[in-house]
């Protein structure tokens, strides 16, 4: 295989992976923007998406059903966690962060209990392969890219055009004023948390056939998701989208030339530079 084909493949993979990361990071940023809480357990929602997907496929043999049901289940769990566990500490960001750390341990090892420690595979739901540059490329991955883009576009429309979307943006900007114009802020936070969990879980089940499914996959995604938040700027949704693709492409392209480890270190270096030079993220508009 020539280097240009190799490069092209890695760029495609980078795009697909970047879009999956974007699903996860958008959820993280959405929640962070609203309640200024960094959700350490966010990766576990990604993991749960894949795990529930795996179980659902075992029982129903139907990937598509799992694709819809698993994120919904995880959203329900997210809703419960926000309402039942996080709310009492929500005015203290560091405390809440530690609580989400506890939640993370509980979710990981509950899954370990039932699912076990060894990784499992989900087969791609269709085996179609496209021919690109004289080489085969998984049709499923193309599907993942298209679906993710569609979901991200829908998310944008939801935030811009619907009443709840307007409320979410208002609560993010000024929570007290939002209450004073009659917005049920607590419910908005709950819905946003569920929405964030839904997106992470969707990323999880979409990624499952590409990688494998195990109880620590949420932990593995965490550094990447956090780097995205820093590079894109905390609370900045467009920034998160851009940063996801940037990191995934950076790691994808550079891994053609250097080892994957070095490319991971490259994104770490990028993050450190952003942190020093543009603490508001590289995609932030200079305002206020």
């Amino acid at each position: 295989m020539g280097i240009e084909v190799h490069l092209f493949m890695n760029m495609m993979n980078g795009l697909v992976w970047g879009l999956i990361i974007a699903l996860i990071a958008l959820g993280l940023v959405l929640i962070f923007g609203l309640i200024k809480i960094l959700n350490i357990s966010h990766g576990e929602f990604y993991m749960l998406g894949a795990i529930f997907g795996w179980y659902l496929i075992q029982y129903t043999q139907n990937f598509w059903l799992a694709l819809v049901l698993s994120p919904l289940l995880v959203a329900a769990i997210g809703l419960f966690i926000e309402w039942g566990i996080l709310r009492p500490t929500e005015d203290k960001p560091i405390k809440t962060l530690i609580v989400t750390l506890g939640i993370s341990l509980i979710l990981q090892y509950t899954v370990y209990w039932f699912y076990g420690g060894s990784p499992q595979r989900i087969v791609e739901p269709f085996q179609y392969h496209l021919t690109l540059f004289g080489s085969g490329y998984s049709g499923y991955r193309i599907f993942v890219a298209i679906l993710s883009m569609a979901v991200i576009a829908l998310l944008g429309l939801f935030l811009q055009k619907t009443r709840i979307g307007l409320w979410i943006r208002a609560v993010k900007q000024d929570q007290e004023m939002a209450i004073a114009v009659g917005i049920p802020t607590k419910k908005v936070i709950m819905i946003t948390f569920a929405l964030g969990s839904f997106l992470a879980a969707l990323g999880g089940i979409l990624a499952a056939p590409i990688f494998s499914v195990d109880f620590l996959m949420g932990l593995e995604i965490l550094p990447t998701a956090f780097m995205v938040v820093i590079i894109g700027g905390p609370g900045n949704l467009m920034g998160a989208l851009g940063a996801s693709i940037l990191i995934a492409e950076l790691e994808g392209i550079s891994s053609v030339f250097v080892s994957p480890t070095i490319s991971r270190v490259l994104s770490l270096v990028l993050m450190s530079i952003v942190l020093l030079k543009r603490p508001e993220g590289i995609f932030s508009r200079a305002r206020r």
Binding site: L166, R169, D174, M177, V181, G182, I183, R287
Partner: protein, 236 residues
């Protein structure tokens, strides 16, 4: 009685510090009532207690005869109370249009049309698609008033609405407030400067250290130099 807002012995705390020490006051229908006092005496806190943002720990608040002291915070504006906070608190990243729309919640409320709003605030017509954060101070004040007005409230709470505005703009704002009042909207107006409200208010309460120390008509207050000096300082 025809009072639409009634505060009875309101006590409010921030954590352990006791800020309001039993505020009692009433706003009657169609009235402009002013709450006057120096820096940090608890004027803003009184309004926030009414809105449920810093709930009163003791005492009762009645709105149109109904006890709203322990009602969930976000339901209070839906009863027909508009709030124009100190510093305006426009949503900076929402457009003017969205800022206006945001006050429309619930289903039953009959809302003002854009045309009605523009009849009070013509300037907003041109700004409709601009972000709230890009408006000038005066325009933001207009928007804050308009936002409170859209859901057709029966009572509006104003927190120093002319603070930081140029005299001409301040005068315009006061005129608009009077115009709103003449359509039957009662107003509770928090202010530091007596001059701003002598012409327009029906009754004035003086507040000091979380307590209402005096009340009377503007005319009575202007006569009473001693009270003025004691509670609002020399500036008249």
């Amino acid at each position: 009685m025809d009072s639409i807002l009634n505060l009875q012995e309101i006590h409010t705390f921030y954590g352990k510090s006791h800020i309001l020490h039993g505020i009692t006051l009433a706003v009657h229908e169609n009235e402009i009532v002013c709450l006057l006092g120096r820096n940090g005496v608890g004027k803003t806190t009184t309004l926030k207690s009414i809105m449920g943002l810093t709930p009163a720990n003791r005492g009762n608040i009645f709105f149109q005869g109904r006890d709203i002291t322990r009602i969930q915070d976000y339901l209070i504006p839906r009863l027909g109370i508009g709030y124009v906070p100190q510093g305006r608190h426009i949503f900076p990243d929402l457009t003017v249009r969205e800022n206006l729309k945001i006050g429309i919640v619930g289903n039953k409320v009959q809302v003002k049309t854009y045309e009605e709003i523009f009849s009070y605030f013509p300037i907003l017509r041109e700004r409709l698609n601009q972000l709230g954060g890009t408006l000038s101070g005066g325009e933001q004040q207009m928007l804050a008033l308009a936002r409170a007005l859209v859901p057709n409230p029966t009572l509006i709470l104003l927190d120093e609405p002319t603070e930081g505005l140029m005299p001409r703009m301040a005068k315009l704002v006061v005129e608009i407030i009077q115009k709103i009042n003449r359509t039957g909207v009662s107003i509770l107006w928090v202010e530091q400067k007596l001059v701003t409200v002598t012409e327009v208010s029906h009754r004035i309460h003086l507040i000091s250290k979380g307590r209402v120390e005096y009340q009377g008509t503007p005319g009575e207050l202007i006569q009473n130099r001693e009270i003025q000096l004691r509670y609002i300082g020399v500036k008249v």
